[in-house]
């Protein structure tokens, strides 16, 4: 399926999951991080105070994704998209520098290093 369709499907899933979780859970959604795991993959969601959603799909054994997503938000998104006057915030990101830095941060993370071969 195309990227657009996949994005819409994902958004619908996240929206319903979030509303389900907030109704059922005895504690509040802690610091905007939520994840669910199936036996094939794990979907991690980080929601910023500005309602920006960062979604990362990993395998079931990945650890420390919350910190990774937070790091991606502060060190990559804010630095290279928010501060870039030529990146409109409501369109797909076209900055190559963003892509390079994103790659760097993910490759240096412990979750990437401990991935099964």
């Amino acid at each position: 399926m195309t990227k657009d369709e996949e994005a819409k499907l994902m958004y619908g899933m996240i929206f319903s999951m979030k509303s389900f979780v907030t109704k059922v859970s005895p504690v509040d959604l802690r610091e905007g991080y939520m994840s669910y795991a199936t036996n094939k993959y794990c979907l991690n969601l980080y929601e910023t105070p500005s309602k920006l959603k960062f979604v990362l799909n990993t395998d079931t054994h990945a650890q420390g994704i919350k910190e990774l997503l937070h790091q991606l938000y502060t060190q990559v998104y804010v630095e290279y998209v928010v501060f870039n006057p030529l990146c409109p915030l409501n369109k797909p990101i076209e900055s190559e520098l963003f892509a390079t830095k994103l790659d760097e941060v993910v490759k240096q993370s412990p979750a990437y290093a401990s991935r099964p071969a």
């Binding site: 630095e79 290279y80 501060f83 870039n84 006057p85 030529l86 900055s95 190559e96 520098l97 390079t100």
Partner: protein
């Protein structure tokens, strides 16, 4: 850290404001408006910043002041390289110009880069004007985030 962000964002908005007209506004008109804004800012800024220091010995001293003190005050770093032909032309190299570091690391967005240098050109021109040096300042960028500012002093 947060204070730098305020100047960065205001500058970004000033650039997009000046280019707002779309097709009706020519690149040159918009860039010269930004340069003018920079000139007025620089003119008053240098008055405020050099309150305590004495007169500068000569033109080269003034240029060194721009490269060191002014750049550190506004962009939190010094100019990386100053060249001159001793006949009124000075070239200032900045290898990581702060307003361009977040945009790209190479050639992407190269055509838009001059817009973000216009204000700084005016700033330098304004500072020099109030220190008694009439000049023309232009900027050139071939590889983000490095850029060169060329100052041509008008004599006689």
């Amino acid at each position: 850290m947060a204070e730098e962000a305020v100047f960065d964002f205001i500058h970004m908005e000033a650039v997009s404001y000046v280019f707002q007209g779309g097709e009706k506004v020519s690149e040159d008109e918009a860039v010269s408006k930004l340069e003018h804004m920079g000139f007025a800012t620089g003119y008053r800024l240098v008055e405020r910043l050099t309150r305590e220091s004495g007169r500068y010995k000569d033109e080269l001293d003034i240029m060194k002041y721009i490269c060191k003190d002014l750049w550190v005050t506004v962009y939190k770093k010094q100019i990386d390289n100053l060249r001159t032909n001793h006949q009124g032309v000075y070239v200032l190299h900045d290898n990581r110009f702060r307003l361009l570091t977040h945009m790209a690391n190479g050639k992407q967005y190269l055509q838009y880069a001059p817009r973000y240098l216009a204000f700084t050109c005016g700033l330098v021109r304004g500072c020099l004007a109030n220190l008694g040096v009439t000049c023309v300042v232009t900027a050139e960028v071939t590889h983000l985030p490095a850029c060169k500012f060329q100052i041509q002093v008008q004599r006689g």
